[in-house]
């Protein structure tokens, strides 16, 4: 459970693939900067599944990504690409 195993990109991809109907169309890009931004792309028909009702799923994903950032002592952000 060390910080060296932290792989937030893989975590987002794993979760997104479990949420959508077309897991083969899930991709996550990692953009380094002052804040590391993870850009999640899914099939257009699956957007609702990663955003959720009133954005609840997206908010939950962001909470998890933010917590991983706290543990990694970095700032992480998640963008869902439409």
């Amino acid at each position: 459970m060390g910080e060296q195993s932290v792989d937030v990109r893989a975590l987002i991809e794993q979760i997104a693939k479990a949420l959508v109907d077309a897991p083969e169309e899930v991709s996550v890009e990692q953009i380094e900067g002052e804040t590391t931004v993870f850009e999640l792309t899914v099939a257009p028909d699956d957007l609702g599944k990663v955003i959720g009702r009133q954005g609840r799923v997206a908010r939950a994903l962001r909470a998890l990504v933010g917590a991983a950032g706290i543990r990694a002592h970095k700032r992480f952000g998640l963008e869902i690409i439409e």
Binding site: E3, L64, A68
Partner: protein, 178 residues
């Protein structure tokens, strides 16, 4: 309707949480129990799969009213594709937060009921999740002189306690927890 294959669902939750712990770098242990035994006072909440967390990052899970704990729970529920009325079949808990919150809500329900009786006016709770509104509805279900309703939409949906034969005259509402 029960979860069709609880073992498969528990395995799916385990795969997800293994990722959260390892790839997310969170220092947590967790235990997944299928059909957990429940104390009597939780007769109206019967999860079929209970996940209990422990470890140094428990505090992270419980910050801001358990925001991260609820986030992880929601993601698991969405992955399992449970319909909305079956969300309560999955329960994520940490350091008994769930039980404490249940007690808090039941106490708030009792206080609200007393206030409605004393004032004859409705009592409006602050917005809550559907699960928490349900707990308050059920806590007051046997109060013959009151009735409860959920009002509003989306993130602003809240529960209101009314005297049974209340005739509306304006909105003399109060807000309380959470």
């Amino acid at each position: 309707m029960p979860i069709p294959d609880k073992i498969a669902a528990a395995n799916k939750i385990n795969d997800f949480l293994r990722g959260v712990v390892t790839q997310g770098g969170l220092h947590l242990k967790y235990r997944i129990t299928v059909d957990p035994p429940l104390p009597d006072e939780r007769d109206w909440e019967r999860p079929e799969i209970l996940v209990e967390f422990a470890g140094p990052d428990s505090t992270l899970l419980l910050e801001r009213g358990g925001e991260l704990l609820r986030a992880v729970e929601l993601l698991a529920i969405e992955m399992l594709r449970l319909p909305g009325n079956e969300h309560e079949k999955i329960c994520f808990d940490c350091m008994n937060q769930r039980k404490l919150r249940l007690e808090e809500l039941r106490m708030a329900a009792t206080v609200a009921a007393e206030r409605v009786r004393q004032t004859g006016s409705p009592y409006e709770f602050a917005p809550m999740s559907s699960r928490e509104r349900r707990i308050v509805h059920l806590a007051l279900r046997d109060q013959a002189d009151l009735h409860t309703e959920s009002q509003g939409e989306g993130g602003r949906r809240c529960l209101v306690v009314y005297p049974k034969d209340y005739k509306p005259a304006g909105r003399p509402m109060r807000k309380t927890i959470p």
